[in-house]
Symmetry: C2
Subunit: 217 residues, 2 copies
């Protein structure tokens, strides 16, 4: 991982993180990213699922999609992963803020092919819900052909995190206004079996139990 | 609102929504957007708070930020608002999916100045937590000068929503695999008063009560 001009946090630099451990941790507990690229001279941002394996991020999609037909050309891209974790209410309107966690990655995509491709799809699946890949029908040759996988190395990457309470101006601490944080929480609801499942298959599988238990407890 | 080539949903077009009511509803229950623009010939995506008032989206930030110095030049931008609402587990790996809600807006920013500027900042505040603007110290002239506000009209905009269970291939319905949906839920935690508040100010204000009650019930 290298710190370049564009991957260096400029606004409130003390919130920037550049170490592998912090970045992997943030990437592994999120799954939705926004991919920005230039298409016909204008900027496009597309939300999509990602997966991480070692020092690589994988994206996938239909071969006919604008995202995949663009990224396979190895054009420059910017990937942002961000979540708000709290609303920070300060005594002054100006010092209101959000708690958040965010990762920004710059790079160029590379089309993943051959043996690596199915491995990458498994990595995306494992990233979202570990163990599920072994609990469903694997892709056919035709399905693999209809899907592109793009890899981006976690090279030019940085994270930014804000936690904690409001930081007010000194003179505002004697004001009569309430201040504090409203935490924003994300979790899983009760798994809903497909209505077309026969009774003998209605038991919630291990991968689903592990995911919903781990995250909500 | 107009449906243009770039704002038309291409992948799974039946999930596209173009009506004002649907788009406003999705915008109003989210607050984090990703703004894409071209900076020194490469794409940049930045996560930031937004507010909606009537048919306009407002963004704000420090006048020195790359986001604000770029957008005030009225360059083309793409804004994406997206949230995953469920993990859709199909019988086949290929038919796995996510439930989600998403809005994509294309346009060019415009710097908001004068009387409109404070109104726009209030709109951003109201969007996140209605009533808070009146419960804190308003911005000074100096603070207003340090902040830029950018407006983008909701003109070239579309939404895309997926709900419901897995759609498997016909022949997979007789397989032995579990299928279903794991809902993803977002909500507010218990408000945490700032530790420096005097006892007489510790009562949770109406705006905070309304927000956390409305959303979690």
């Amino acid at each position: 991982m290298k710190k370049t001009k564009r991957s260096t946090v400029k606004r409130v630099p003390k919130r920037g993180l550049y170490d592998q451990k912090s970045i992997y941790k943030l990437l592994d507990r999120n799954h939705l990213c926004h991919v920005g690229f230039i298409y016909e001279d204008f900027p496009v941002v597309i939300p999509t699922l990602y997966g991480r394996k070692e020092n690589t991020i994988f994206l996938h999609g239909a071969v006919v999609s604008r995202l995949m037909t663009s990224l396979k050309k190895e054009i420059p891209l910017c990937i942002s992963i961000a979540k708000t974790t709290g609303i920070v209410l300060a005594r002054s309107a100006f010092n209101h803020s959000l708690n958040y966690e965010s990762v920004i990655l710059y790079g160029n995509g590379r089309l993943v092919e051959g043996f690596e491709k199915e491995e990458a799809l498994k990595a995306i699946s494992d990233h979202l819900i570990i163990g599920r890949w072994e609990e469903c029908r694997p892709p056919t040759t035709k399905e693999l052909k209809a899907t592109h996988v793009i890899s981006i190395d976690l090279d030019e990457v940085s994270a930014k995190v804000r936690t904690g309470g409001p930081q007010d101006d000194k003179e505002d601490y004697s004001s009569e206004y309430w201040a504090g944080v409203i935490p924003i929480k994300e979790g899983f609801g009760v798994p809903q079996p497909d209505q077309q499942l026969p009774d003998r298959l209605k038991k919630i599988p291990a991968s689903v139990q592990n995911l919903t238990h781990k995250t909500n407890n």
